[in-house]
Amino acid sequence: MTKNPTAAVNARNQIRDRDPADRVFHALVLILSILCFIVILYPLWFVVIASISNSDMVNRGEVVFLPKDIRFYGFQQIFQDSRILIGYRNTLLYVVGGTLLNMIVTMPAAYALSRPDFRPRNKIMLYFVFTMYFSGGLVPTYMQINRLGMINTPWILLIMVLVNTYNLIIARTFIQNTIPNDLYESASLDGCSHFRFFWSIVLPLSKAIISVEILYYAVFHWNDYFNALIYTSNNDIQPLQMVLRRILLQNEAFANGNGGVQGGYAQSSADQVKYAVIIVSTVPILCVYPFVQKYFEKGVMIGAVKG
């Protein structure tokens, strides 16, 4: 009976909550968890209701829990504005192309470093790990990229952080721990090369880590504004985050003259555009998120194995 999990849970529930201290504890857990839920969710909820409410009412503090005087002015403005569309197009290019390049470079390298019979693996690992803790700094990196002629080209945003050492380590750890060495030994006896083994055995067996890596890299490319800020100045090649920065934080005016630092009606409608911009730029990544949540959790745990 004790081995039956449901019976064990029932027995536990019966013992639980007899002590008054336990009741206080469980009440506190409930209160804190609800509080936590509200604190995390409310700012997000507020942005949503503010984006479809009358912005004068938002500015007077009348919109608190539910949208009031619903309108979609902000969203209409966005879809008339070419900057957001260009930013979106560029970001999609960087996310898809950049992540693809990341994977092409990271996975084979992780495989090579996972081979226990590859003697220089620890030295090569040190070569990568050292760059996690020491770098040349901003200016020398900028000058190096300048010498390569990559300033103000889309290439730099595709190729910057081509391989992330942390991601390389978790991929290596995963391959090392999940693919038995016997598999390679028997395959190589049958004349299987490293290339062939990697392509037909390792990759199909590493779907979990491949998903984690794609997600890590894709989120990085989606959210990256630092590299765009430093290495590009041409609006046509800048990603969405830079467009957002110009609109949201530098108050750059909208096409029809709304926005910018003005007073009166123009300012309040500009605020509504801002809320809408936040939503339009964040929703895609949030839509993907529930489907991939388990992979993210898995990724953190694989990373934790090595530390």
């Binding site: 027995a11 201290a21 504890f25 857990v29 409930l30 968890s33 936590c36 790990v129 745990m301 934790a304």
Partner: protein
């Protein structure tokens, strides 16, 4: 064991291993070349910190000036300001931000209703995916001086005075920075602790209950000890990057009003390199960056050594 390996090493030449491993080398090559060009060559370029930059002569061509730019930085007014701000923000992030995910993990682990547990977990991870640009603009609207929902709320509770400008006044900068950081990453950072807690044997709880331990005692005597190794490793990693206050968020949160409290080393380097007025000071910027790097590296080595002595486990 080692002698056997040595014997093996001697009996086989480099040619044997090249033949054996050339495919592995090919697979590693792109990553090695990338890291060399984008990480190691800039390290060599960091010698600019010791040279007077001359754009006609390139990065290695300027006159050698020794430690002059380091001394310039140490003697400048910005040295104290940037160092103090960086330390303060780092320390506040660790002291206030470090316990939050631990408490959250314990709370989530205690929730018995699976649906509610799942909902809460999904919710607390969401902010992690919001970009810094969006996060900072959310701060700007939610904590606006007038009409900001959250600043009005704090004023109504008399947590801040009625005329406070949370985004402009420099004494609030650290709080805004650390608070938004906790909001954004608390859930994400709790994943690792939740994983550690899930490894606790259920029988341990049952035994404790039968022995009369209440819920508080179970948390203190069963769950907390399980978390200690994870807590130690993460704490060391955090201490090892004490001067690494991320550029991204500070830079975006900066305005002319709060600059006294918000100029950290990384933003200072950027402002030296790309000043709004005047010529860029490349050599000084390189020197400041190199200084941070060296300090960080020393901190990391120190904490790593201390950790190895105390707990027997380190990062390297």
């Amino acid at each position: 064991m080692t002698t056997a390996v040595h014997a093996k090493k001697k009996s086989r030449g480099i040619g044997y291993y090249l033949k054996q491993d050339w495919q592995l080398w090919v697979m590693l090559l792109p990553a090695i070349v990338y890291i060399f060009i984008f990480c190691y060559m800039p390290m060599y370029g960091a010698q600019l910190a010791f040279r007077k930059y001359d754009y006609t002569k390139g990065i290695y061509g300027g006159d050698w000036v020794g430690f002059q730019y380091f001394l310039d930085y140490f003697n400048s007014a910005m040295f104290g300001t940037t160092l103090r701000n960086t330390f303060l923000i780092s320390l506040a992030s660790i002291v206030l931000g470090f316990p939050a995910p631990i408490v959250l993990a314990i709370i989530i682990n205690q929730i018995k209703n699976n649906k509610w547990k799942r909902t809460l977990q999904t919710t607390v991870y969401i902010p992690y995916f919001i970009s810094v640009v969006v996060l900072v603009s959310m701060l700007n609207v939610l904590f606006a001086k007038s009409g900001g929902v959250l600043s009005d709320f704090l004023k109504a509770l008399h947590i801040v005075p009625a005329n406070a400008n949370l985004l402009g006044q420099k004494q609030y900068f650290v709080w805004m920075y650390v608070g938004s950081g906790i909001w954004q990453s608390m859930g994400w950072n709790s994943i690792i602790y939740i994983a550690a807690l899930s490894s606790v044997d259920v029988q341990l709880y049952d035994a404790a209950k039968i022995d009369g331990a209440n819920a508080w005692q179970r948390v203190i005597h069963i769950e907390f000890p399980v978390l200690v190794p994870t807590i130690m490793i993460l704490l060391i990693m955090n201490m090892g990057s004490i001067l690494n206050v991320g550029f991204d968020k500070v830079f975006l949160m900066q305005n002319t009003l709060n600059k006294q409290a918000s100029e950290v080393i990384s933003t200072y380097v950027y402002h030296l390199m790309a000043p709004t007025t005047g010529a860029p000071q490349f050599s000084l910027a390189t020197a400041v960056g190199l200084f941070t790097n060296v300090v960080n590296f020393v901190f990391l080595m120190l904490t790593n050594t201390i950790s190895k002595r105390l707990t027997g486990s380190g990062l390297m």
